[in-house]
Symmetry: D2
């Protein structure tokens, strides 16, 4: 490294930081707490809460902030905004309570598996007029965002079809699957969000095919681990999605938008740039395995967008409608799989 290599410090922002309370500091909440306390300019963590007091205490100790009960957190004047990172069935009650407490809210996906409940959350947010975001972090991934920008900017002309490949490196435990709402509401919901975001037109019909190819216990839990889904958007664009719970070569996350003037692609990158070429051929490393190795930047940018939303107001980049529509698509996909036919999203409500 020399002076030429572009080392520079960001300009100073003198506004007070957004003070975050983290509700739920299990796996994903702990990650958000770490990110917010270290890597998000303009945000700071001031309290954590968790249903398990020991978990709350441990994380609070690591971060040097108090562990409190949830009602206390929501009532605190040291908390401007909350991250809701608890289990899905608790989301809506927490959104309603946080909205009534006047806190800005980022809620992990999905808001709920029940559209009536989603609507109750939306009503509370709209009544309280609090900033609200759903945790669809992948929208903020630079590669995925470049596809959306290419479509919006007309770089590939009129959009004809959209492909999303989304494969996890390893399946979750069967007990997780049983409570997850099924692959379409747990995993594909990210892809439904991405399809809406990139196409810019709502989904009107869903056809899904699925299979149990990886773990029979997933079938026993009433779910599939392999799925292909075809979405028809109201502007005629066709999105097709393939999912697997297990890609042994890493976290496979790709998008391809095809249009009248070309394709825009978000491709996988290998773990690093090393490779060899010998008589049998060329070998490269596999893909990143751990989701943070793939999506860390997206989480950072998600929180930056949230900080901007809280400070500057304006429309939410992932607002209430974005919390509701993917759930409806997921329910339609679930029904399509069961009934073996295309299902209109309007059938779902």
């Amino acid at each position: 490294m020399t002076t030429g290599a572009g080392f520079g410090l960001a300009a100073l922002d003198t506004r007070p930081p957004v003070r975050m309370g983290i509700i739920g500091v299990g796996r994903i909440g702990r990650m958000h707490a770490d990110l917010l306390s270290r890597e998000v300019p303009g945000a700071t963590v001031t309290a954590v809460a968790d249903a398990l007091p020991e978990t709350a205490a441990r994380v609070a100790g690591d971060l040097g902030v108090p562990a409190v009960e949830i009602p206390e957190l929501l009532a605190s004047d040291q908390v401007d905004a909350v991250a809701i990172c608890t289990s899905t069935p608790t989301h809506v009650d927490l959104i309603v309570a946080a909205a009534e407490a006047g806190k800005a809210i980022l809620c992990e996906k999905p808001v709920s598996l029940d559209l009536t409940e989603v609507d109750r959350a939306i009503d509370a947010v709209e009544a309280a007029q609090v900033p609200f975001m759903v945790g669809f972090n992948r929208r903020f991934d630079p590669g995925h965002a470049s596809v959306r920008e290419a479509v919006r900017a007309g770089a590939i002309g009129e959009l004809h079809t959209l492909r999303i490949t989304s494969r996890d490196p390893a399946p979750p435990p069967p007990e997780y699957v049983a409570a997850s709402g099924g692959i379409f509401l747990d995993m594909t919901i990210h892809d439904f969000d991405m399809a809406r975001s990139i196409v810019g037109a709502e989904v009107v019909e869903v056809f899904a095919r699925g299979a149990v190819r990886i773990d029979p216990r997933i079938g026993d839990a009433g779910d599939v681990d392999t799925a292909v889904t075809v979405l028809t958007h109201e502007d005629g664009t066709i999105t097709y999605i393939d999912n697997s719970r297990q890609a042994v070569y890493g976290f496979d996350q790709r998008i391809e938008a095809f249009g009248s003037e070309g394709v825009a692609v978000s491709d996988n990158l290998p773990q690093h740039g090393g490779w060899t070429l010998t008589a049998p051929g060329r070998t490269e490393p596999r893909l990143p395995w751990f989701f943070l190795d793939r999506y860390l930047t997206s989480y950072r940018l998600e929180w930056s967008a949230f900080v901007d939303l809280v400070r500057d107001g304006g429309p939410s980049p992932v607002g209430t409608i974005d919390g509701r529509a993917p759930v409806a698509i997921g329910l339609a996909a679930t029904r399509s799989l069961r009934e073996g036919r295309p299902v209109a999203v309007s059938e779902i409500g």
Copy 2:
């Protein structure tokens, strides 16, 4: 993200952390201080010092540690190890003082532009038997390391030639150049280190060609901004290096080891995985520009190696000989450029 995406917490290490004092918290020292305080398990920053008191005070305030004078830092029983990140002419005196104070040492490259001075530092380190590392971070880059591992493991057979391409995105200011010791001691020194590390044999002869193609003020300062260097190793391997102070497309850092059974390459990766393909062709993003976007992982792993060295002892991964040899090669390259002939490293001393 679902449970399957491999979220896991590292096993807890209950040993007390290595307490670091940072000497020099300008650009590169500040980066090390930030890394050590946030991202290096097993390390913590306990004091900072800088020739400019205001700089020391500001960084100390950000990190929540005391700013002290250098002698005080070296005498502190709260400091186990020091990072020497000051300007090159101060390195040797600081190494000597730190060694005499019994501190473990990581010193930024180059140790000195003067081999006699380097030897004085080495003598002090060896007399005091303190852990010592030179800051050749690129050795720890996963892509570059994969090349070295391929060579060591015999994956490409017997090594014949090694190519290193090392281009900065933008040239340093002319006043920096004037004090830098020249391109070979400031910039190519990283590549000399890499060549020794990958080939595993010392360099015996150097031939360098250079030119001023980017900024005439660099020529006015007696230096070149473009260079091609050919190294002959004692085992007959030939390394060739090309350098430029300005690659407008980003930070271009590549290595290619060619041997009897194939090649091992460390290649550039683009800024992200997004691309488009339209009638005129395919377009990808340029390379990372900022050196931390390219080499952050290498700095993390460098500090992990240092923590291991301090805690566990053993041979240094980048020890005193690794501080001396690249300086000798750099001096030979400088002479070769001036005299227009190959120069034996043994001529230098």
Copy 3:
């Protein structure tokens, strides 16, 4: 080039060549005639015939062979085998006549748009016991073949899903579309063949979605120009295919087989290996445009396989069942598109 670059002459084959009569020397027939006369060891062209006498005369002149009437060609003792390259509606009568004349047959795809007719051709071939191949050349493409071999060899474990992307560089004229049988029988039929060939299990159900996005005259002709098709194979594997009549960046032909142990992909290669990287990013050439630039090797290997079949006997690499099944799938896809529901191939017959 030096001696080391591996120049070698093939071993001589002293057997007499297979003498080919080409029936139909329009665009595709002319290409086959050229290939067979110049680039296929073991084959030679001895006669050509065409419904347009001037066309036959011109091609015959270029090749230095006689132009004859079709019955004469079929009766000739200078013709061992025929290539049927006429328009689709004439295929079956020609197959029957050639089989009755005892000639080996390669017939361009599709055999017919009518399954009853296909069966009539099959009956004639089986009665006469003549060697028979359908012109699904893409099976012989080295990239595509590498996917099939990876699946067969178990290199990617158990196959879960198969993706085929197949996009032409430019749409055919509307009058061609009107007579083509529709996109599924004209274009996707190659992909249906590939799906059967790679999966190794028959297709039992088809769901198709299509749209007119490129040329409204294609819609006026009762067809679509953009389609996504989902196939369910009898072993549970799911194939999904996307087609477009117009990829402005070239001939886009990709296959991806995903299984329990990884993916095998046949990817596009650019027109050549030149690229640039400048401040805005990296640019590569677009894809090959002309189908022969993409698939020339596949045609050569197809004819080699035919020569082997004629000389050595054994099962046909693309036999009668391979002529029938893709037509049935194409008819099912056509019905699925019209009726908006998945269609069992068994409904078709």
Copy 4:
């Protein structure tokens, strides 16, 4: 394939073809004869000659043309132009004789290993004013040509350095090496030609380092099998070339031009576009092995350029100066290697 896939026939050229006589139909001459008789529009082979009568007879029989003695060929009014594909020591006498006979000439590289002899050939060509080309086919490779075009068009700004990697898949027999004039005149000469062609400025100084790493018998023959060469052009551009007689992964042919606005690269492409990605990583096929798989297009385009030169006149794309300069550079490189110092091309003559 459908109508959309761009099948088109070239416009007819009604001019009489250039009638070629091939002198020397061993390995490379046979290849040229095959190309000219089948794949080069505007050319036809009318006679062949070879020092070995049986070789001449066999090739003549395959092509359906007469085998004649060389003087007869040069005197024939059925021959407009000759391809000189004999061994290097015979080139100059044949060039002189062909020029005196008024034939257009394409001579394989190198014209001679002796500059005085090269000058004698040049004098004869200039006296006779016959069209003349040297067989530096790589200039016509589309990837390499794209680098030259990028440099000429200013797409990468001002050129600073040029890298050429040129590695054969397997070494020639030692007896070939002994007669070859050495690696610089036999193999690197292609790269010297490319450097002159891309940089557009003559080479003034050469520094070469070499080693025997592959086959000790190459050392016994007085040659090296591994070399790195640095060229200084009169405009200050630096070219560096690495050569190996044996790249076990295939025919490795790359060029990289680096300038003030970016890089232009001619990269290798794999044998085909198939690859797999499994838990250990990604694997691709190795590079093409046989030189015709890599450079066939360049030979076709070379002959097209020759046909244009013969028909249309104008300056030769690879003229007499291009036959002489690379020989001088090769002799300078040979001397540099022997004497261990940079050698000015002006020392050679």
